[in-house]
Structures are given as structure tokens and as C-alpha cells.
């Protein structure tokens, strides 16, 4: 009946942003980002108290039973503040995997633990996501061997959820035998990529209760793509806001630079590109729960389009700041790199658009 946020959503968004703003001033962000593993126990705890870890979990398992649109607002806020914490994979993709492919017993055991913030789950979709890197796993006798690169939210993870080529997913304990998790610091210091080498590592669980495992995997991937789109939206909005603020302050040639059409038009161009993206992210998130026939198309286009737009915004916002934008000093680069990371993982724009074409039946998979 309406296209917009509810009062509850606005209030929640407001309190989350207030928390992040107070909790992550630039000097703290610098300190937390330095190790590059994308996890800080204190921040994790604080976000848990705000309900972030249980928000999507159904009420019967102790959660708030909210939808992906709510999660997108969280991802947007995390992107805005470049928050170094697991979320998109750990609290959204992994949960969705459990909901869609775990059996009753598995759900009853694990979902409450996710809701309680006891688990942080690094997720690896391997080749299914369009990511580059290794993705060759053998599963035999309950044990997993091989390698998979580029897991998301794998820094500080208690568990890993890795997909096999057939769409089933294995849950691994991060401390299990035969597991070597290499946390690679990335361009985006706020989130790492994790490479797993596995030698006869026992799987804690195998999620195989779905009749259409590859479709379920694709839905998990799409939910992740929406989260990354939202994250890019937030990061780009932060860069635009700061560029506009800087343009109102900085004086060159005896004038505030924002009064020059050259700078003004850069800001106007950024706003014109970015503003429609907000509705697109909302729609794509909402569609994952409520308009299933459009879910894949919307998710893939959201990821691809946001990647194109926010790359431009990231460059232009840096340019508006002139030399200062290029320094480390203002910390603007945290959002710049956040956008870079989001664009490059779970499939580049070309891959996402290809998947959108497949979802519309234009071409075969």
C-alpha cells in the first residue's frame, strides 16, 4: 500500500546510526581497522544489544522476525560508517541458508545460537558467486577436503559455511582439525577475505534438506548481493554527504568551492545517480521476502547498478575534496574501499547482469 519505511524502521535506523556514530569516530575506526580482520568483540557485543544478530531470526527461535528490508537498512548504516563487523554473510546469508536447507533438528539447534550472537559464520559460495579464486571441495564420509577462497565475514568467525558444487552446504567449526583459515587483509581494512584449506575436516552439519539445493544457494547468494548493494549505498551516501559539506566550507579563489558550477555539478551528478538507488535497494530487499518472482532480477540488478554508480560517486566525492580527499587524513578512503570491496566480491557487475539475464530467461544459465 506504500513504498517507504515504517516509523519503526525509521526509529531503529536512527538508533543504530546514533550508536555507530558514537562508537566509531575516525580514530577508533582507524584502530579497529588496522588488524584488518573485520571483527571487534566490543562492537559485536554492542550491535548484539541493539538486536542486530537476532533481527532476522523468526520469533519461534528467539529472534525479532524482521525482513530483509530491515537488514538492508542495517547494511546501509554499516556501510555508511564503514563498520568493521560481520553481518551480510554471518547474520543474513548463513541464517537464510539454515532456514531454507536445514532440517528441523538442525534449525532448532543452530538458529537460536545465531540469534544469541554466539556464532559468527564466514560464508563461502565458491564459483557459484562468480568470485575468482580456488573453489574445489570433496565431501566424503562426513569430511571435507580441498580449498575455497574468499569467504566473507570470515574474520573472527566461530564457524564456516561452505557450499559444495551441488548446492549443499557444510557447516564447519573454525577450530576443527585439518582446517587452515588464512585471513587475508584486504584493500578494505574493515573486512577481510578468508581462504580455507581443508584436509579431512569433519563437517558439523550438512545442510541438505532442500529439494532444489542450487536454487536455494542462488537465493542465499542473492540475499548477500542485496546486502552488499545496501552497504555500497551507505558508503557512497557518506562520501556524497561529506563532499557536499566540504564544498560548503572550503574556500579557493576567494569563494566557497560549492558556489562554482564545476564543483556544484559534480555534487548534483552524484546525487542524481545515487538517489534512485535507495528505492532500488529497498525494493530488491523487500522482493527477497515478498515478491519472489522478481527477487533474483532485483537483487542482481541492485548489486550491479550500485557497483557502477558508487564507483563514480567514490571517485567524484574524492575529487571534490581535492588533495585532502586523497590523503589518509580525512578517512574518506574507508568508504571508498568499502565500495571497492563490495563491488569485487560475490560477483562483479558483469556477472550480476549476466545472472539477471538468466533470471529473466533471456539466456540459459
Amino acid at each position: 500500500m506504500r513504498f517507504g519505511l515504517t516509523e519503526d524502521q525509521k526509529l531503529f535506523d536512527h538508533s543504530l546510526r546514533g550508536f555507530l556514530s558514537a562508537r566509531l569516530p575516525l580514530d577508533v575506526l582507524r584502530r579497529l581497522a588496522e588488524p584488518g580482520n573485520g571483527f571487534d568483540a566490543g562492537l559485536w557485543k554492542g550491535l548484539g544489544e541493539l538486536g542486530l544478530q537476532a533481527m532476522l531470526v523468526p520469533e519461534e527461535y528467539g529472534g525479532a522476525g524482521l525482513g530483509l528490508l530491515d537488514a538492508a537498512l542495517v547494511a546501509e548504516a554499516l556501510g555508511f560508517h564503514a563498520a568493521p563487523t560481520p553481518f551480510a554473510a554471518s547474520q543474513v546469508m548463513a541464517l537464510r541458508a539454515f532456514q531454507a536447507a536445514a532440517d528441523d533438528v538442525q534449525r532448532r539447534i543452530w538458529i537460536p545460537r545465531i540469534a544469541a550472537g554466539e556464532m559468527r559464520i564466514g560464508v563461502g559460495l565458491g564459483g557459484m558467486s562468480g568470485q575468482t579464486g580456488r573453489a574445489a571441495l570433496r565431501f566424503q564420509g562426513g569430511r571435507l577436503s580441498g580449498a575455497v577462497d574468499g569467504l566473507l565475514d570470515g574474520g573472527g568467525a566461530t564457524h564456516f559455511l561452505v557450499y559444495l558444487a551441488d548446492g549443499r552446504a557444510a557447516l564447519l567449526d573454525a577450530d576443527a582439525t585439518g582446517i587452515t583459515a588464512t585471513v587475508r587483509r584486504s584493500v578494505d581494512r574493515t573486512r577481510p577475505l578468508v581462504d580455507l584449506d581443508l584436509a579431512e575436516t569433519p563437517a558439523v552439519e550438512l545442510l541438505e534438506a532442500s529439494n532444489a539445493p542450487l536454487q536455494v544457494a542462488a537465493r542465499v547468494r542473492d540475499a548477500g548481493r542485496v546486502m552488499l548493494a545496501a552497504d555500497m549505498l551507505g558508503a557512497a551516501q557518506a562520501m556524497l554527504d561529506r563532499a557536499v559539506a566540504y564544498a560548503k566550507e572550503r574556500v579557493q579563489f576567494g569563494r566557497v568551492i560549492g558556489s562554482f558550477q564545476g564543483v556544484k555539478y559534480m555534487c548534483a551528478d552524484m546525487a542524481t545517480m545515487l538517489e534512485p538507488c535507495r528505492a532500488m535497494v529497498w525494493y530488491a530487499a523487500y522482493a527477497q521476502d515478498a515478491i519472489l518472482e522478481e527477487a533474483a532480477i532485483a537483487a542482481n540488478h541492485a548489486k550491479a547498478h550500485l557497483a557502477e554508480v558508487t564507483r563514480e560517486v567514490a571517485r567524484l566525492a574524492t575529487e571534490v575534496h581535492g588533495g585532502m580527499g586523497f590523503t589518509d587524513l580525512l578517512g574518506l578512503h574507508f568508504q571508498f574501499k568499502r565500495i571497492t570491496f563490495d563491488r569485487q566480491v560475490l560477483g562483479t557487475s558483469e556477472r550480476c547482469r549476466h545472472d539477471a539475464a538468466v533470471a529473466q530467461g533471456w539466456i540459459g544459465a
Binding site: F3, G4, Y265, E275
Partner: protein, 401 residues
């Protein structure tokens, strides 16, 4: 966020589809707008109004259907007509720009007198804004109207009056207070086009057609009550009209219709049996545009919700014209490339030629540039977005160059 359809919405959707199926033979060809509506168009318009598929939210006392605002209803109706390819009714400047302006700031008498005939397609309006010397700088209008014995006496010239050659009325921006500062000296008058002293000359554009006119005023007399708001308020009223014009120009439904038409072209087998949609470089170009059109459509839903809730969308609204017209031109750019050399054949003068999709795409490819320029050029839009939308300071005033 709630886009789920209620029982009532489902019923409406079925009802609209049934209506279209039952009456589509009575519908005129979509488009048009370059001629006075004929009997078929007027009858179809009457049927749409009566059924609540046009003017749905306009109060009954002014000739509308009087339904409360509901974004989903509006979307359902637009979608059904768009997918079926059946005319959704008349869209002209009177309906899209003057009617909402009068509903916002007109007197009760003006609303009662003009809204009904306009939405029925009986009263055709043209817009008297631009002048040869003031294209982007609208407020510099020189056309003047002096008061004489209960009449405004108008002298001057307007350009880009798009349907002046068959319009009944013009909404005119002119200078009535020459002693006041630029923006405070204007008034917004409603001028019957059959008033003596008005001369209309066709203005040919790059498309080869004369979609516009030059309109000349020599001692044209209109009663002093033919004014919207008061003397000196013209710039304010004009900006309300411009707001609606800019939303119209960036229309997301039009973008969606264009995208679908290009997709269909690319899906059709070519003489050698291959489809352009199977060529990844062409498909990727189409997909990029699809993503942009989707963003525009969802953004439009957001604006419609704001409108229904009486919220000013601010920045969200200000970007629409610039965003939509640039995207439209990129869509037609792809369309003409898809057509290749076969699209170049071009006979714009004949009525029939307008049915030829190839010709139409090339006309649109050029006309779109006119739309990027008209209704406030892209640079004007970027000033507005930067200054009103983002709060950036205005260009400092300088003396005459």
C-alpha cells in the same frame, strides 16, 4: 514498505484488465498529442474518466473520479495499460501541468471552470514561458502586460509553445510590474488563444517536424481576473507548473515502455536467424539500461508515496527531470544502434511514417535532446539540484558582463 496487494487491489487489477479486454477496440492509437483530440479520443477519455482510470484522485466536484490517493492503485492502472499497449488517455500540458497547478493554488472558481474541461480533453492548453532572449533565464521574460480599464494588454513574443496552433488557452508568464525586481515583476495569466492580436507561427525543429510555435502578442486584451494568484506572484506559480513539468519529463513509465520495446526488438530474430540479445556485448548494454530504468521506477514509487502522504520529496523530486531525460536519450541511443542502417530511412512528414518504429526511434533520438534542453536545461537542473536539493551556495551575483 508494503507493496503486497490487498483483496481490493487484486479486484482492481482484474477489473482494469477486464475493462481493457472489453473496450480495447474503442481505444484510439496511443501517443498522438500533436493534433487536437478527435471524437474517438474524446469518447475514450470520457470512458476512462467515468471508470476511474483517469483523473482518479481529482475531486468529483472538479470533474475527476474522487478516489483517495493510493500508490498501488495508480501503479496497477498504469501497469495494465502499459503492458496491453492500450492508450491510457490524453497526456498534454493542460492535464499534466496546468491542472495540478490550479488544484494547488487556483481559486475555487478557476478549478471549477477549467479542471473538468481540461481533463476531458475539451480545453487544450499551451505554455507561454520561453522567449527568444530568455531560454534558461525564464524570469527575464520581457513580454509585458499593462493594465488598462479592467484588462491586461499583452505585447511581446513567446517561443516553444508546443500546441499553440490548435490550443484553446495559454498559461502565460509575463511582466506586469516593470518597476519591481526581476522575479517579483511577473504574473501568470490565462489567455484565450482566440483573443485578437495573437499570431502563431510554426517552428520547425531538428526532427524535421514543427512540434512547436512562435507566438506573437500585439495588444492582446484579457480581463484582469484571468490571473492565477496575484500580480507579481507569477514566478511562484510558474515554478509550481515547472515542478509538474519536470516530473512529467522524467516519467518512469515512459522509460519502462521504451526499455520493453527495445528488449522486444533485440529478442526478434534477424534475417540470419540470430538474435541481438544473444550477443553478450549488446545484451550487457541493454542490461545496464535495465538496471537504471528499474532504479527510476522504484524511485517513482517512492515519490508517489510521498505525494500521497503529502510529503515533499525534496532532492528525490528535483533530480527526476535530469535523470529521466538523460536516461531516455541513452535508451533511444541503443534503439537506433539496434536498428542499424535500416533505421535511417526517414519520412517524418507523412502521418503513416509515425507508425514505423524505425522512424519513431530516430525522431525520439533527436526529440529527447529537445527534452534534455526544454523545461529547464540540464545545467539549470544541476543548479537546482545543487542549490535547492543539496544546499550549496548560489553562483555569486556579478554586474552585467
Amino acid at each position: 514498505m508494503d507493496l503486497t496487494l490487498t483483496e481490493m487491489h487484486r479486484a482492481l487489477r482484474d477489473e482494469v484488465n477486464a475493462f481493457i479486454a472489453r473496450h480495447r477496440d474503442r481505444a484510439p492509437r496511443p501517443g498522438g498529442g500533436r493534433k487536437r483530440p478527435d471524437r474517438k479520443v474524446l469518447e475514450w477519455q470520457a470512458l476512462l474518466l467515468e471508470s476511474g482510470y483517469f483523473g482518479r484522485n481529482i475531486p468529483r466536484e472538479y470533474g475527476g473520479f474522487g478516489a483517495p490517493h493510493d500508490v498501488i492503485e495508480v501503479a496497477i492502472i498504469a501497469d495494465a495499460f502499459s503492458r496491453s499497449g492500450v492508450s491510457p488517455g490524453i497526456h498534454n500540458q493542460g492535464i499534466s501541468m496546468l491542472v495540478p497547478t490550479l488544484l494547488e493554488v487556483g481559486t475555487e472558481e478557476q478549478k471549477r471552470r477549467w479542471v473538468g474541461p481540461t481533463i476531458r480533453g475539451e480545453a487544450i492548453w499551451c505554455q507561454g514561458y520561453s522567449e527568444p532572449g530568455s531560454g534558461s533565464d525564464l524570469a527575464a521574460a520581457h513580454t509585458r502586460a499593462a493594465v488598462d480599464d479592467g484588462f491586461f494588454v499583452i505585447n511581446g513574443q513567446k517561443i516553444w509553445t508546443s500546441s499553440a496552433h490548435y490550443a484553446d488557452m495559454m498559461f502565460l508568464l509575463c511582466r506586469t510590474e516593470p518597476d519591481k525586481p526581476k522575479h517579483a515583476g511577473l504574473s501568470y495569466l490565462l489567455v484565450p488563444m482566440n483573443t485578437p492580436g495573437i499570431e502563431v507561427r510554426p517552428l520547425r525543429t531538428m526532427t524535421g517536424r514543427a512540434e512547436f510555435n512562435d507566438t506573437f502578442f500585439t495588444d492582446v486584451r484579457v480581463p484582469v481576473d484571468q490571473i492565477v494568484m496575484g500580480r507579481g506572484d507569477g514566478w511562484q506559480v510558474a515554478n509550481i507548473t515547472l515542478k509538474y513539468e519536470r516530473l512529467l519529463l522524467g516519467d518512469a513509465n515512459k522509460l519502462q515502455n521504451r526499455f520493453e520495446a527495445i528488449r522486444r526488438m533485440m529478442q526478434e530474430p534477424r534475417p540470419d536467424g540470430s538474435r541481438l540479445l544473444d550477443c553478450a556485448e549488446w545484451r550487457d548494454r541493454l542490461l545496464r539500461l535495465q538496471g537504471e530504468v528499474m532504479a527510476a521506477r522504484y524511485h517513482n514509487l517512492r515519490l508517489l508515496t510521498d505525494q500521497a502522504e503529502g510529503v515533499d520529496s525534496g532532492l528525490g523530486r528535483l533530480i527526476v527531470k535530469y535523470h529521466g531525460t538523460m536516461l531516455a536519450h541513452r535508451l533511444t541511443s541503443l534503439a537506433v544502434d539496434v536498428l542499424g542502417s535500416a533505421g535511417l530511412a526517414y519520412e517524418p512528414q507523412g502521418e503513416a511514417a509515425e507508425d514505423d518504429p524505425a522512424t519513431t526511434w530516430h525522431i525520439d533520438y533527436m526529440y529527447d535532446i529537445g527534452l534534455i534542453i526544454g523545461g529547464g536545461s540540464s545545467n539549470i537542473q544541476k543548479n537546482i539540484i545543487g542549490e535547492r536539493g543539496l544546499g550549496l551556495p548560489r553562483e555569486p551575483k556579478v554586474g552585467r558582463a
